[in-house]
């Protein structure tokens, strides 16, 4: 394992790879800062640029984005009371009051330090847990792989805003995955006589459509969430050193926040927002002096920021080890892996150790580098949020469509991206989660393959699968995941009644 770590470190320090990392970091910070865009859109837009790259270079670029995006998001949360990404929302509680007290620099210093240390802790937890995950995978056969894909779908669906519509979205995603020639049965499915569909839908135009184009349509219709108010001229960001010192003074808060982030990150679908709010409330509950929380307590900035970067390490565990993406960002990241010939799922961990360590180290480096960049340039970076949405929309749509075309030089991919852009917008509009569709699309192949292998193994008698322990454990977890919204609403009702 350590050989792979050193080789990966050496790889990342190579001039060209370092350049990709820096590009990822800069894009990540900018997309993190602009409210409403975030990591998923950044990855969707950068996907086409990776076509000609080696797999590890593409992963370095994406690692740069993922490591930087939450740090970027904290800047607007602190200075404009507008979280750049959803997990930064908890930072607003105390970050913005600090800005109003003229301590924006201190808040940024503390946020960036906590976020960077959180990212490092998350990455180390990932490195420590990967060998454990590897050993678990060796016990998995086709029934367990099938149930793993089912668990991935149900866990994310249960965590989505609407369980029923999440499941509908997942079924739709599976059907999109069926389109094209079926290797196992030899039939061409759901192609409707359209030549373009015979090879199936490529994941890249689907992702570009669902995330980049749909977001721009949303921005056009809703008027966008790009900051429209606030004065950048009066934002003093001096005092960052004091913020860094404050972060180290409250190192316990960083440690607890990072631990919460890393643990929550491993649960598919729960994500950074829950982690940062949980970390904030944990710090609030365990603090002796609580009176300043919400009014500008530096611990209220440190706690959520430490957790929302540490969760990246945690959420990579189910993504890399089991092929279950924990968030939209991770689902898109799996799209990058597929594009570069890597099958998401357990074999990835066993066969591509070097690639995985490149990703972990890229994430680690990105958190540190983006922290430094943000500390030095915060007052200038904030101006990015004032980019006119009228400029952003046509530019992003054009670049997205060029990117969709570039993969196969196919104009069909351009139409597919536009179609999924409209579909993505409509899904958002009618509250059908897009994430479950994407995950079903990503996991569909694994699911169908293992469904058949299991059917063949047991000659169609699925009751025999209950003799397979990993299958049973995963089945119980999948059922629990589906029941979770019901259980939590019952608990809430009982709590309300007892009050």
């Amino acid at each position: 394992m350590f050989d792979s770590v050193f080789t990966a470190a050496e790889y990342l320090t190579d001039g060209m790879n370092l350049l990709f990392l820096m590009l990822g970091v800069v894009v990540g910070i900018i997309f993190g800062i602009i409210p409403g865009l975030g990591g998923a859109t950044a990855i969707a837009l950068l996907l086409p640029l990776t076509f000609g790259m080696q797999a590890e270079q593409a992963i370095t670029l994406m690692g740069g984005v993922m490591g930087a995006v939450t740090i970027g998001g904290s800047i607007t949360a602190i200075l404009l009371n507008t979280p750049g990404t959803a997990p930064n929302a908890a930072t607003c509680f105390d970050g913005y009051p600090l800005t109003r007290q003229g301590k924006a620099g201190m808040a940024i210093g503390a946020a960036v330090t906590a976020s960077s240390i959180g990212g490092v802790i998350g990455a180390f937890i990932l490195i420590l847990l990967l060998p454990v995950a590897k050993n678990i995978i060796l016990y998995f056969g086709p029934p367990a792989y099938f149930m793993l894909a089912v668990l991935g779908l149900t866990a994310l669906t249960a965590a989505s805003s609407n369980l029923l519509r999440g499941l509908v979205g997942a079924c739709l995603g599976l059907f999109i995955g069926f389109v094209g020639y079926d290797d196992m049965g030899g039939a061409t499915r759901y192609a409707a006589g359209v030549d373009y569909l015979w090879d199936g839908l490529s994941i890249v135009p689907v992702l570009i459509g669902l995330f980049a184009i749909a977001e721009m349509l949303k921005l056009y219709v809703m008027g966008g969430s790009i900051a429209k108010t606030g004065e950048t001229g009066n934002l003093g960001v001096s005092g960052t050193l004091e913020g860094i010192k404050a972060a180290f003074r409250h190192f316990k808060v960083i440690l607890s926040g990072s631990a919460i982030g890393a643990v929550i990150g491993t649960v598919p679908g729960v994500g950074g927002t829950v982690a940062s709010f949980l970390s904030y409330s944990f710090t609030l509950q365990t603090s002796k002096d609580k009176q300043n929380f919400g009014k500008g307590d530096i611990r209220g900035v440190i706690a959520p920021e430490a957790s929302n970067n540490a969760k990246d390490g945690g959420s990579l565990i189910p993504t890399l080890a089991f092929g279950i993406p924990g968030s939209a960002e991770m689902a898109l990241f799996l799209g990058v892996l597929i594009l570069h010939g890597m099958d998401p799922g357990p074999m990835l961990l066993l066969e591509r150790e070097f690639t995985i360590f490149v990703l972990i180290l890229a994430l680690l480096a990105a958190t540190l580098v983006s922290g430094v960049i943000v500390l030095l340039t915060a007052r200038y970076l904030i101006k990015v949020t004032f980019i006119d949405s009228a400029i952003l929309i046509p530019s992003v749509i054009v670049v997205s469509l060029v990117g969709a075309y570039a993969l196969h030089n196919s104009i069909g991919d351009v139409f597919a991206a536009a179609f999924f852009g409209v579909l993505g917008y409509l899904m958002h509009r009618f509250d059908y989660p897009r994430i479950t569709l994407v995950i079903a699309l990503v996991l569909g192949g694994l699911m169908e393959r293992n469904y058949f292998q299991t059917s063949l193994m047991y000659r169609g008698d699925w009751s025999k699968a209950f003799g397979d322990t990993p299958f049973v454990i995963l089945l119980v977890l999948a059922v629990l995941a589906l029941l979770m919204p019901v259980i939590s609403s019952v608990i809430k009702r009982k709590t309300r009644q007892s009050v």
Partner: protein, 155 residues
């Protein structure tokens, strides 16, 4: 009022159900193992879609909180603006198909900024040139992609 606003949700649910039924029927046209898994997923899809129709009908009667949720969600969304958004996308697709990327990019960005963004002539021109330069430098020069020239300009 509430039931009027709930209609789009119900319409969507019905459309999804019809779509699920079509997918399921199609799944039975595939021979052997090609049809097995789509059939299984199809039945689940149809069941879920019907359940959603039920939820929508129930919500339309004001029995669940979904109504309130739906209300707040659809508030402020104008159908006209949505159609305009899709229209702009459609125009871009048509133009890409006819005259390709390198001509469509400046024309589309310029037209969007002038007509939808109400930006000045100089600003619209500058940004459209910038966007085209970005596409050309990154995709054509650096990544060496051959962009679609459009069916009208194909040699």
């Amino acid at each position: 009022m509430i039931s009027r606003r709930l209609k789009p949700g119900l319409i969507v649910a019905v459309l999804v159900t019809v779509f699920a039924a079509l997918l399921l029927i199609t799944a039975y046209s595939y021979q052997g193992i090609s049809g097995t898994f789509p059939q299984l997923v199809g039945w689940i899809f149809l069941g879920l879609a019907l359940l959603e129709v039920g939820v929508q009908v129930f919500a339309a009667r004001g029995h669940t909180q979904t109504a309130k949720h739906r209300d707040s969600e659809t508030e402020g969304v104008s159908l006209r603006k949505e159609l305009k958004a899709f229209g702009w996308l459609g125009i871009l697709l048509l133009s890409l198909y006819l005259i390709g990327f390198m001509l469509s990019t400046p024309l589309y960005v310029f037209a969007f900024l002038r007509l939808s963004g109400q930006r000045s002539l100089a600003m619209s021109a500058a940004i459209s040139v910038g966007a085209t330069a970005f596409v050309y430098i990154v995709f054509v020069q650096l990544l060496e992609y051959k962009l679609f020239p459009g069916i009208l300009l194909m040699g």
